[in-house]
């Protein structure tokens, strides 16, 4: 059984959502810079939900069972760290802003509108809607917002171990309640991702949590089964490892959901999700890619797939101090030849069971800053061989190329427990053999791999996947500041122009200007190829025919689900 271990849980987490998304999650700079730019983008932002919910024949009542491959951990928004917890957490807690499934546009949730930055470039004013209440009848006010943020960054709450503390301490100058309904955020300096990271956030009820000592907040059972919430569903019961039960919140500001109850059922792995979709034991879930075809002819089941905001890529270690193989990867011609030798279309077809698209840039197609750079590397085995010949890497008697005594051989690692990646590395090794490179493969435990990539940087080549956040800032991937110490530039790629673009873009609040900067970045990265992208994997869902309006999309896979109140079951049971 390889799909049930936490490695693949992390992968699921990676493939479906990244932790920062819960903060930056969905939208942000998009919508507000749309206001700045005006015009068409304004219409997009106003239009908001481009996924259609049809409630003409909606039936009231009934339940739905969602199958998920990991149990919840902590559903408190200030602690949420995994997909499963986010799924439940954002059904329980409403947020100030939410996100459209397909476009990734920010939409107002508890706020009246998506805020735009003031002329001082650091102040943001958020106004809450009228008549919004907690599930115990108390009104949701600006004090709740301020309290939630204080828990995360105020020194008096230092005992609260929120993972967002260091980020907030770095960027947030103050958060104040101007009146019952209005909150003003001030950043320390212009910071483009601010709305996505911090205003796109859920709120805690102050009147409930402030009765606890700060240290007690970390271990309160309300972190798993909150008593007072503001979202579409109210938590009822958590049977560890089995299921999480929720019931309809009659005080939800959007109105009562059609469903009476929601069950989150824990299933050991994605293949079992597929089995339970077939038998009807669960209504919705993400099955294993390998089961996609077998779900095609199941009665009473629909399938859905979409390109998720994520990508699979391989990182070449460019640091000669860490590995002698840097002599191979250090040559730009070699890097280009290696990518040219990969038949990415065939890979997407066979390794991903057809459920992926070949990559063409350094960000996924779902990102609003995506562009198709001029430099591309279409698959061409002959050309790859020529490039290597021209670069002085000559084939030896055993068919392996060498130059200046350095043979073209290295070890390619990926994480265990992910069948797709384990197959992928053997396919890559095989394709590179065709151009005279001797690649050995080695699946490694995920924790080791993360340590190797982000701390010790002792590796030759690693294949991994990244789940993108809604904000396009990729400083952690490509900046020279992000080498080691837990950051993700494992290749040790250093390009001052790239650093400059990244630094500029993160403080550029104008959407069009920002997009231009990231497009320049993509052009450079496609030239330099420190860590080329191979595919954009798709996310897949099995949805029972009795469930309507289950509008999951690239930016709404697990959370948030602004359309949840329109979901109904045709039999009302």
């Amino acid at each position: 059984m390889s799909k049930n271990d936490p490695d693949s849980q992390f992968d699921r987490f990676l493939d479906e959502w990244s932790r920062r998304d819960f903060l930056r999650g969905m939208g942000g700079a998009l919508a507000f810079s749309a206001f700045l730019a005006g015009g068409v983008e304004l219409l997009e932002a106003c239009g908001g939900n481009s996924t259609q919910s049809n409630t003409q024949n909606a039936v009231r009542g009934g339940h739905i069972v969602e199958g998920v491959i990991s149990d919840i951990g902590n559903v408190n928004p200030i602690f949420i760290n995994d997909t499963a917890s986010a799924t439940v957490g954002y059904l329980a807690y409403a947020r100030m802003l939410t996100v459209d499934a397909n476009t990734g546009n920010l939409m107002p949730d508890l706020a009246t509108a998506v805020p735009k930055v003031d002329s001082d470039q650091v102040s943001y004013k958020v106004t809450l809607k009228d008549n919004i209440k907690w599930s115990d009848g108390q009104p949701i006010t600006a004090d709740d917002v301020v309290y939630t943020f204080q828990l995360m960054y105020d020194p008096q709450y230092k005992a609260v171990t929120s993972r967002y503390r260091s980020q907030l301490e770095q960027h947030l100058a103050s958060v104040t309640a101007v009146d019952q309904k209005t909150v003003v955020f001030k950043t320390k300096g212009p910071y483009a991702p601010f709305i996505i990271s911090f205003i796109n956030f859920a709120i805690l009820p102050k009147h409930v949590w402030s009765t606890l000592q700060p240290a007690a907040i970390n271990s309160s059972p309300m972190n798993q089964v909150p008593t007072v919430v503001s979202g579409a569903m109210i938590p009822v019961k958590w049977d560890k490892g089995t299921q999480y039960q929720m019931k309809r919140n009659d005080l939800y500001y959007k109105g009562k959901t059609y469903l009476d109850s929601y069950y989150f059922k824990v299933v050991a792995d994605a293949v079992q999700v597929a089995n339970q979709l077939k038998t009807g034991e669960i209504d919705v879930g993400s099955p294993d890619l390998s089961q996609w075809d077998s779900l095609a002819n199941v009665q009473n089941l629909d399938r859905r797939s979409y390109v998720a905001p994520s990508f699979d890529y391989y990182i070449q270690n460019l640091d000669p101090a860490k590995t002698p193989k840097a002599a191979i990867f250090g040559d730009p011609q070699v890097r280009k030849a290696l990518l040219t030798a990969l038949d990415r279309k065939a890979v997407a077809q066979r390794v991903y069971f057809g459920l992926a698209a070949p990559a063409d840039s350094s960000v996924s197609g779902a990102q609003w800053v995506h562009t198709t750079p001029k430099t591309q590397y279409p698959f061409n085995l002959a050309k790859a061989n020529q490039m290597l010949d021209a670069a002085g890497w000559t084939k030896g008697a055993d068919g392996i190329r060498a130059k200046n005594g350095v043979r073209m051989e290295w070890e390619l690692r990926t994480n265990t427990g992910n069948k797709v990646r384990e197959t992928l590395i053997t396919v890559l090794a095989d394709q590179w053999k065709q151009i005279g490179a001797n690649v050995t493969t080695n699946p490694v435990q995920f924790p080791q791999l993360v340590t190797q990539l982000s701390q010790t940087r002792e590796f030759e080549m690693i294949l991994l996947g990244i789940s993108e956040g809604l904000d396009p800032d990729t400083t952690q991937l490509w900046s020279s500041k992000s080498i080691g110490g837990g950051a993700l530039n494992g290749a040790a790629y250093k390009n001052p122009k790239v650093d400059d673009l990244l630094d500029q873009a993160v403080v550029t609040l104008d959407r069009e200007k920002r997009k231009g900067l990231y497009q320049q970045l993509q052009e450079i990265l496609m030239e330099d190829l420190p860590a080329p992208l191979i595919t954009y994997p798709k996310a897949v869902w099995g949805i029972s025919k009795r469930v309507k309006n289950w509008n999951v999309g690239p930016w709404n896979g697990a959370s948030p689900r602004p359309w949840f109140n329109t979901v109904y079951v045709t039999d009302g049971k």
């Binding site: 059984m1 049930n4 271990d5 936490p6 490695d7 849980q9 990676l14 990244s18 932790r19 920062r20 930056r24 339940h63 069972v65 990991s70 951990g73 902590n74 602690f79 760290n81 995994d82 171990t161 993972r163 260091s166 980020q167 970390n218 271990s219 972190n223 798993q224 049977d239 560890k240 490892g241 089995t242 299921q243 039960q245 059922k265 824990v266 299933v267 050991a268 079992q272 089995n275 077939k278 038998t279 034991e281 199941v298 435990q445 995920f446 924790p447 080791q448 993360v450 340590t451 701390q455 010790t456 990244i466 993108e468 956040g469 800032d473 952690q476 080691g484 837990g486 950051a487 993700l488």
Partner: protein, 345 residues
Amino acid sequence: MLAKFIVRRALAAIPVVVGVTVITFVLMHSTAGAYVPGLSLNPNLTAQEVQLLRSQLGLDQPLWIQYLNWTGVAWLMQHVGLGGVLIGAHDITPGILEGSFGQSMVDGTAVTSQVFDRLPNTILLTVTAILIGIVLSIPLGVIAAVRRGTRTDHLLTGVSVAGVAVPQFWLGLLLILVFSVQLHAWGLPFLPSGGVITPFTGGDLIDRLAHLLMPATVLSFVYLAIWSRFTRSSMVEVLSQDYIRTARAKGMGDRRVRYVHALRNAIIPLVTLVGLELPGLVSGGLVVEVVFSWPGIGLLAYQRALAYDYTMVLGIVTLASILVVAGNLVADVMYAALDPRIRLA
């Protein structure tokens, strides 16, 4: 005498449990290196955050301090004035001394609450499997013994060999495929393919039994295989005894001879075998739990070990080793109680 025996065994168990915790602790930390549990490849993760996480989880302290903190010894040391020895320590808690095995490093839930909430599921599974094993292996063993050398005997031998040879995960997956997926596809009543209860409609006895049936059967297969062989050979031996011949000579019916006289004596070694399974009650069902999404502590330990959730794994291993030692003790006492020829040393 019995009391002395139990006390002596309990005292001898303490260094065993402590040793287990030390070994587990060292192994986990040496394989994980600098990894922070709960960490993922997040493109927005900064180095400061990783540092903060390490500090919050106490992983930036020296290893020996982390261990002492977990056992509560560090807290004791602070209270008797030896706190100065603990260089680099922060956030010392009473730990085990207050009955707390800490919080999970991955999701913050209390270790004891996770373990004790899931332990009954595991025990239910293994006890049911053992019961099925006993109920089926006795008649099978008796039949094989009585008909030894015939085709029935050979058939049952084949079943035994299969029971030991067939991997549990293969058998489990096969049963799911047939009794869950296929039966459903044919429109027939089908068995649930995993979990403990059906959400919403389930939770009653029939539902729970339906969920329990397949996993317990798969788990019992191995027990069945071994115990039926054992019962068979034990029966064969007993059936050749003089007192059996006497009973037959007196005109006693076959059935009475077999089940009243012979079986009673043949069972005793079986009790030993079953008793040997007591320690395995807690850990035996791991593969089955994984295949059937059975929420027991086997599945929990497996998932958390791979996630490097140090505190959870340490907690599970410690509690499991205590239970194993206790199980051994109970088995020994039970054996001595049943067979007067045995003396407890």
